[in-house]
């Protein structure tokens, strides 16, 4: 294993200034020149952090720290100038727009959780609302179903009617990303995004790359599905992870307070696959379906939805239309139409108010609630 150790040293030396290290009176920290072997078991755990194999390398080597502040400013101005004068793909004729039907599956948005606030209904009951902000969303790419089925991300058993649409959030400073990552955004003509997601959509809801997505994509009173990654809790025991009851606290039990108990019976059968055991907890994708949108703030692009979405504060959330059959039927009966394929800025006939409230929700700009006397 000495070769492995040597390799590490070489890699680290390349990053440093080589001439300084070779001087006799240098001051290098010890772990740089450590030749100690790594002994013992090296278990390869399935990492939840590992990216998909077809992902492009995102980050480039950080050169920014070697620049002076004047040069940093100059680079910022160059980036602004470049992205403002870039020819947008939207100058060509827009793609055809279809009407909304219950069989259509539209694209979604990528938001950030920013807090929980109380709101009141018109009958006086108090509810809690989760605030989700949509920061600078753009459509990056659309692949039709035939091409999507050939790609690596397609699972063989999944339905063939869906194409994929990539949505990105938060345009960033372009100098810290690799060239391969930059090439993803050439079609859309936008600066590189901090976060990307993919939505499976039907071809009649396809959106042209480069179109901005805003909070008007959804309507107040609509039901949506919100999916996010749960809070990572590390390696946890069986009581916290699966809610087992553990052992008794007293009555002579020794070293049996938080244990799972018997795992299986019989030597021949072995342990059943999928048995609940201790292990890595959290950091999984979970969806909360049929969440109501109570209120929309159009000034800051904020959605007020029902509470209970997984994940920590400032976590990313994917927001999608609800797929429940009953809810779609209700939309049809009420004669509701949703912006297809998305909301464009030219659609607005009148200027929107700053806050749009649900019918049941109490607007904070009104007078207090009073009840009428009935005999």
């Amino acid at each position: 294993m000495a070769a492995k150790g040597l390799f590490n040293v070489q890699c680290k030396l390349l990053i440093c200034d080589v001439g300084r290290i070779l001087e006799p009176n240098n001051s290098i920290s010890r772990p740089l020149l450590c030749y100690q072997q790594n002994r013992g078991k090296r278990i390869a755990r399935p990492s939840k952090i590992a990216p998909r194999p077809w992902f492009v390398r995102k980050k480039a080597t950080p050169h920014m720290k070697y620049l002076t502040e004047e040069n940093k400013e100059l680079l910022d101005n160059v980036a602004l100038h470049q992205y403002k004068n870039q020819p947008s793909p939207l100058r060509d004729e827009p793609w055809p727009r279809n009407e909304w039907t219950p069989s259509v599956r539209r694209a979604g948005l990528l938001g950030v959780k920013i807090g929980v606030q109380p709101q009141w209904k018109k009958d006086g009951t108090r509810i809690l609302c989760q605030l989700i902000q949509i920061v600078d969303n753009h459509v990056i790419r659309y692949t039709p179903p035939e091409e999507y089925q050939k790609s690596l991300g397609y699972k063989p058993m999944s339905p063939t009617c869906y194409g994929s649409l990539v949505v990105g959030a938060m345009s960033t400073h372009p100098w810290n990303y690799s060239k391969a990552y930059h090439n993803l955004f050439l079609e859309a003509g936008v600066p590189p995004k901090r976060k990307l997601t993919r939505f499976l959509i039907t071809p009649d809801a396809a959106i042209q790359p480069g179109t901005p997505l805003s909070v008007h994509h959804f309507k107040v009173g609509q039901y949506v599905n919100c999916s996010a990654k749960t809070i990572a809790r590390g390696f946890q025991g069986v009581m916290k992870r699966w809610g087992f009851s553990g052992g008794p606290a007293s009555h002579g039990s020794t070293k049996f307070h938080r244990r799972p108990g018997s795992i299986s019976s019989g030597m021949d059968r072995g342990i059943v696959k999928g048995k609940k055991m201790p292990g890595w907890m959290g950091n999984d994708w979970r969806t909360l379906s049929n969440v109501k949108i109570w209120r929309i703030n159009t000034k800051y692009n904020v959605l007020y939805v029902s509470v209970g979405i997984p994940g920590p504060h400032h976590g990313y959330v994917r927001i999608n239309d609800s797929v429940t059959h009953k809810i779609k039927q209700k939309y049809v009966e009420a004669g509701k139409q949703f912006p297809m394929p998305t909301y464009y800025e030219d659609d607005a006939t009148e200027p929107y108010p700053e806050d749009i409230y649900d019918e049941e929700l109490f607007p904070m700009t009104e007078n207090s609630i009073t009840f009428e006397q009935t005999e």
């Binding site: 920061v135 600078d136 590390g234 950091n283």
Partner: protein
């Protein structure tokens, strides 16, 4: 000689320094969380960067600059406008939206200036009451929480029974808030009135309101209250209370000495908390941010409803 790392400092003086974990010992879960969350600083960079389309996120409001004396007055008078200082829940945009809701509510209803210890009368809309509304008079014993969640507790005695009602300040069911007597007490919270004799929290329901002179300093009521017999809801002998007489009804001399000794124990008295600058910094909004918040409030307060 060990190096002066964060962990070493933390072991030497645990109360003064927050637990800083060395990068080498950093847990995997901390690394993985950074993949699906945005830190507050980077999110703020995104909002204010010129590459962003929405210009509203970049705007900074202009208001009159307040001096430190005015800010401390505002802190005393309108404490609910400061957000929760816990850094895990903070966000600039959600705080702006919350403040907007509070201000909109104050334009429609007159919420007068009051403190812990002043006597209030609150009327709320009630679906099940005979006149569809109810009025309650009591002494304000507690105020807590930030923003729209701000609430206060009124206490009174009805039929020889202590009664308390908790009101949310920005609940739209509230029709009217009257201040019958505006004064302060010696303590910030009067929850100890629960363990005092009932006569100290009795207020007649037909009490008439006094005149409130604006621009005059709020008077402080310096009455001292005796505590009732033990057991209490909390160990009041361990608190540093100014509005309470010294308790004398101990069971024996031995019990009194034991209570006195336990009060002086370092785990109870916590003498380091007076010097703990980081604790004070974490539990309070710093003066620079408070000045910005109250500057906006001061600018908007001309539109508020005043009866």
């Amino acid at each position: 000689m060990p190096t002066m790392s964060g962990l070493y400092l933390f072991k030497q003086c645990p109360r003064l320094v927050p637990p800083v974990i060395d990068a080498a010992k950093c847990n995997i879960q901390l690394i993985s969380r950074s993949l699906y969350t945005v830190p507050n600083e980077t999110l703020e960079k995104q909002r204010t960067s010129p590459l962003n389309r929405n210009p509203e996120l970049r705007k900074q409001s202009k208001h009159r600059v307040l001096n430190s004396k005015e800010v401390s007055e505002f802190r005393d008078r309108l404490p609910e406008f400061l957000p929760n200082p816990n850094p895990e829940h903070r966000d600039r945009i959600s705080e702006i939206l919350e403040r907007q809701d509070m201000v909109n509510r104050r334009r429609n209803i007159d919420i007068p200036e009051f403190y812990v210890g002043s006597i209030l009368a609150v009327t709320i809309a009630d679906k099940y009451a005979p006149g569809k509304d109810g009025r309650f008079v009591g002494i304000c014993i507690h105020r807590e929480e930030h923003g729209l969640r701000h609430k206060f507790i009124l206490r009174n005695v009805i039929d020889k029974q202590g009664v308390e009602i908790m009101y949310e300040m920005y609940n739209p069911l509230i029709l009217k808030i009257e201040v019958l007597k505006q004064e302060k007490r010696l303590d910030d919270s009067l929850l100890y009135l629960r363990d005092c004799p009932l006569e100290y929290s009795y207020i007649p329901q037909d009490l008439k309101g006094q005149m409130i002179h604006k621009g005059v300093q709020v008077p402080v009521n310096k009455t001292k209250v005796p505590l009732g017999p033990r057991p209490w809801s909390q160990r009041w002998d361990r608190f540093d209370l100014k509005g309470v007489e010294e308790f004398t009804d101990w069971r024996s001399e031995k019990a009194r000495i034991r209570a006195l000794e336990s009060r002086q124990h370092p785990q109870v008295a916590k003498p380091w908390e007076k010097v703990d600058l980081i604790k004070h910094y974490k539990e309070n909004i710093n003066p620079v941010e408070a000045e910005e918040i109250y500057g906006e409030v001061d600018k908007d307060s001309k539109n508020w409803k005043n009866d």
